[in-house]
């Protein structure tokens, strides 16, 4: 560690010691090690210091001290982010919120829960299960990821097609501003009198404030939920089935798709009964009253038959429904077993372009000599191509990143975006100019300045500098953006 940094670190340790118990300040390298990266381990960095406060007042003071000393602050929930958004800053403080793990209040009548940011996503649904309620957004990482991280990333899940993303399922957030001030945004009602700061905070990747409390909406558990699983001979039939479902006026609770590589990998891992000979698999969940669900299932089965599905199975009970989902939810780790490393992309495209884009991805992958497995939220066009690679092979990570970048640009060209739910972080910062003009990026910077005039919150992530944009455009990358933003 450079000597200047050491001085800052020692100074911070001294100041924080009066606020926090000694075991909540981690200054030694070995204990800091688990914090060096998030779910995207290709990007690592050691912080000056890790702090683990457990009261709002402590967070307030920590941020105020950092503001005064102009020290970067990176918030961290569970560190499951897939965009290096929670990667520490080498000259900054990593603010871990894991100790904020309490559910503060459940209001069964208003169907809301007031929770601390370090509560895991799944813990909320578990805490209200006896009330026949649940929290709808369900990222596959829900056992581990925190609700604070979900708000910071506007996370989605398989049930977001019908029930919306994090932004649709939260009412109020308490936060600490970059200057260490306490602020409540949103409300216990359905709107607020001033500007919708809650919308701005959701998905802001720790760049606009530290989230210290969240009120989430809860939904009544549907009377009945069933999954129709169908295998197809090719991806375009499955893509057409997705189109037919939506065009038929049905909004399933979830509509997920996997390609051949993903099907075989997850089946070997989860033994969910997936048809391993199929080249595309659809999982379509219907929920509602029992007779409603029955009626929908018949219609879905007919659509699948029309698209020549080779197998169709309907879950017969809750255990079987959970089993069908188990494969999907464990898809990332299952595919991870196929290869020493994998890289998860997150572009979104219009649903009608699914098969076209998938076949382009596969030819791009061939060109780079890499394998890609696809498992994704078909209902809302959110792709997750998983690029399999071996970081031990020289040049393979670089080729992977190159392919990843090309996939994201392909998504923008198809009328979509570079990230549907995982966020920009560091990982996709280079592709931001594919989606936005310099003027649009500058507008983002002005928003950032409004919240964080000293630029201490998660610097270097989310929004590229104009210099980064110029470098990107100098490489002749600009076509996707021109077609999209200024036509």
């Amino acid at each position: 560690m450079p000597e200047d940094d050491m001085i800052v670190r020692n100074d911070l340790v001294r100041e924080f010691s009066s606020l926090l118990p000694i075991d909540a300040i981690i200054a030694d390298r070995e204990t800091q090690k688990p914090y060096e990266c998030d779910g995207l381990s290709a990007y690592c960095e050691m912080p000056l210091l890790v702090v683990l406060p457990d009261t709002i007042e402590q967070v307030e003071k920590i941020v105020a001290i950092c503001y005064e000393k102009q020290v970067p602050v990176v918030a961290r929930g569970a560190g499951t982010s897939l965009c290096a958004g929670a990667m520490p800053h080498s000259q900054g403080v990593l603010l871990g919120l894991a100790k904020f793990n309490k559910i503060l209040e459940i209001d069964a009548d208003a169907r809301t829960a007031r929770v601390q940011p370090g509560v895991t996503n799944l813990a909320i649904s578990e805490a209200v299960r006896d009330l026949s309620l649940y929290y709808a957004p369900d990222p596959s990482s829900q056992i581990a990821c925190t609700i604070g991280g979900n708000v910071a990333e506007n996370s989605g899940g398989v049930h977001c097609l019908k029930y919306g993303l994090t932004v649709h399922n939260i009412l109020e957030v308490k936060m600490i501003t970059a200057q260490g001030e306490f602020l409540t945004i949103g409300s216990q009602a359905l709107d607020t009198p001033g500007l919708d700061l809650l919308a701005l905070m959701t998905g802001s990747e720790g760049l606009l404030g530290i989230i210290v409390e969240i009120t989430v909406k809860l939904l009544p558990t549907p009377e009945n939920s069933r999954v129709v699983m169908a295998g197809f001979e090719n991806v375009s039939q499955a893509g057409d089935a997705v189109r037919d479902i939506i065009a038929g006026g049905i909004i399933p609770a979830g509509l997920e798709m996997m390609d051949h590589l993903a099907i075989t990998a997850t089946e070997n891992f989860a033994h969910a009964g997936y048809p391993t000979q199929s080249h595309a698999l659809l999982l379509c969940e219907l929920d509602g009253t029992s007779n409603e669900v029955e009626a929908y299932i018949t219609r879905i089965e007919n659509i699948f038959k029309k698209q020549n599905a080779t197998t169709i199975k309907v879950s017969q009970n809750e255990t079987e429904r959970a089993l069908f989902w188990k494969g999907r939810k464990s898809a990332f780790p299952a595919i991870g077993r196929l290869s020493p490393d994998y890289y998860c992309m997150d572009g979104t495209i219009p649903r009608s372009k699914i098969s076209q884009v998938l076949s382009k991805i596969s030819s791009l992958a061939q060109r780079h000599g890499l394998r890609v497995a696809n498992v994704f939220h078909a209902g809302d066009g959110n792709l997750h191509p998983l690029i399999l690679y071996d970081a031990g092979v020289p040049g393979e990570l670089e080729r992977t990143e190159q392919l990843g970048g090309e996939i994201l640009e392909l998504c923008v060209e198809a009328g979509g975006c570079i990230t549907g739910e995982h966020g920009v972080g560091i990982e996709k910062i280079r592709q931001m100019p594919a989606q936005f003009s310099d003027e649009e990026i500058k507008q983002f910077m002005n928003i950032k300045d409004a919240f964080d005039p000293a630029g201490i919150l998660n610097p270097g992530k989310g929004i590229p500098t104009l210099k980064q944009c110029q470098e990107y455009r100098a490489l002749g990358h600009d076509h996707g953006h021109e077609a999209h933003a200024h036509d």
């Binding site: 209001d107 069964a108 009548d109 026949s132 506007n154 932004v167 501003t177 602020l183 409300s187 216990q188 009602a189 359905l190 709107d191 009198p193 500007l195 919708d196 700061l197 919308a199 959701t202 998905g203 939904l219 009544p220 558990t221 549907p222 009377e223 065009a247 006026g249 049905i250 929920d287 509602g288 009253t289 007779n291 409603e292 009626a295 929908y296 979104t348 219009p350 649903r351 009608s352 809302d380 959110n382 009328g415 979509g416 975006c417 570079i418 549907g420 739910e421 920009v424 989606q435 649009e440 507008q443 983002f444 928003i447 950032k448 300045d449 005039p453 989310g462 929004i463 999209h484 933003a485």
Partner: protein, 353 residues
């Protein structure tokens, strides 16, 4: 079908160089409502019309901001689809841009969401006369800050909206309204109890001693819920919900100021129940009469919400509750970030921004 964005851009550029404020006008259907009085050169959006793209299988619509709700609703109806937030028009010629700027949604709002929830992308002209696109036409998009939803309720103070992309839904197969004669507080409790089960509710309102519960969904679902819940059925040609949405019920007649409470839905009656009308399953409550904002604010805070003077009254005064200093600071800086010369609908939201 005309695109007058070049002309709009030139007008904003002009206003900027002269530091002269602009008053953005859509269909002018919301004159004397929602916003404070704005003085400025009119910037007329109504001619900026037309559907930019609409593919029913995508359930996404992109339209120029001056397109009327009437036109949009007619086009969607042909395809068996709808705007999921049941927008109040509140007058002739209401435009989609104005509806987003006002964050206006109808009785279905607590159940399927607001226009803010359904907004996927916008094209806007900021106060620097730059034409910028945020969000897009896909349901999931977390690249950059959510500038799109920030426009909902900003009353044009952050940008001239020129294009809006929205998520759509298929029209529901069947609707039915059940009525129950109940005092207001009982009705609020009943709404809570009924909506705690996952039935397809699409509206819950109380007016003059009657609770109205609207169900929408498949015919099987609606029938089953009716059997379960009982209650009288409202004639299928009743105009109750559209009269409620368009503020045509007798409750809304006359010139007295109209106050809107946006509160926690389970809060008990705020004042004499006979003076109030309940919508949004209890989360939106209307009051008529001459009152002081500060007095009503106390009631609203007790009910974990806020109150605004929605219509009528003196619209040069502040119409919304005072914000904390930290809020005020961030609001001012955000206004600066979009509109450094304060030329876009100055004072529409608060006198100080």
């Amino acid at each position: 079908m005309t695109d007058i964005s070049a002309q709009l851009l030139a007008q904003v550029m002009d206003a900027r160089s002269q530091k002269m404020p602009l008053k953005i006008i859509g269909g002018n259907s919301k004159a004397g409502m929602l916003a404070r009085k704005v003085t400025g050169t009119p910037l007329n959006m109504a001619a900026h019309q037309g559907i930019v793209s609409y593919d029913p299988t995508e359930l996404v619509l992109t339209v120029r901001a001056g397109t009327t709700l009437d036109e949009i609703e007619a086009v969607l109806e042909e395809q068996g689809q709808m705007l999921p937030f049941e927008p109040p028009h509140l007058g002739d010629g209401a435009t989609i841009g104005g509806t987003l700027a006002c964050n206006l949604s109808g009785p279905v709002r607590p159940y399927t969401g607001s226009i803010r929830d359904m907004a996927l992308g916008v094209l806007l002209i900021n106060g620097r006369a730059q034409h910028l696109r945020f969000g897009g036409e896909v349901i999931k998009n977390v690249a950059g800050y959510d500038v799109t939803r920030l426009q909902a309720g900003a009353l044009g103070s952050l940008g001239v909206l020129t294009e809006v992309s929205l998520k759509l839904l298929p029209r529901t197969q069947q609707s039915m309204t059940l009525t129950f004669e109940l005092p207001q507080n009982e009705a609020i409790k009943k709404i809570t109890a009924l909506t705690n089960s996952a039935q397809a509710v699409s509206g819950a309102a109380w007016s003059e001693g009657v609770l109205y519960m609207r169900l929408s969904g498949t015919s099987q679902g609606v029938e089953a819920t009716h059997k379960l819940w009982g209650g009288e059925t409202l004639a299928s040609d009743s105009s109750f919900w559209s009269d409620l949405r368009e503020q045509r019920l007798t409750f809304f007649s006359g010139d007295e100021p109209l106050w809107r409470f946006s509160i926690k839905p389970t809060a008990p009656a705020l004042l004499d129940p006979n003076d109030m009308l309940v919508d949004w399953g209890g989360a939106q409550r209307w009051l008529r009469g001459d009152h002081e904002l500060a007095d009503l604010e106390k009631l609203a805070i007790k009910a974990s919400g806020h109150v605004t003077m929605f219509k009528g009254g003196d619209r040069q005064k502040e119409l919304r509750p005072a914000l904390s200093n930290t809020h005020k600071k961030i609001h001012k800086r955000l206004k600066q970030a979009f509109d450094p010369d304060n030329i876009l609908n100055p004072g529409s939201l608060y006198g100080w921004m």
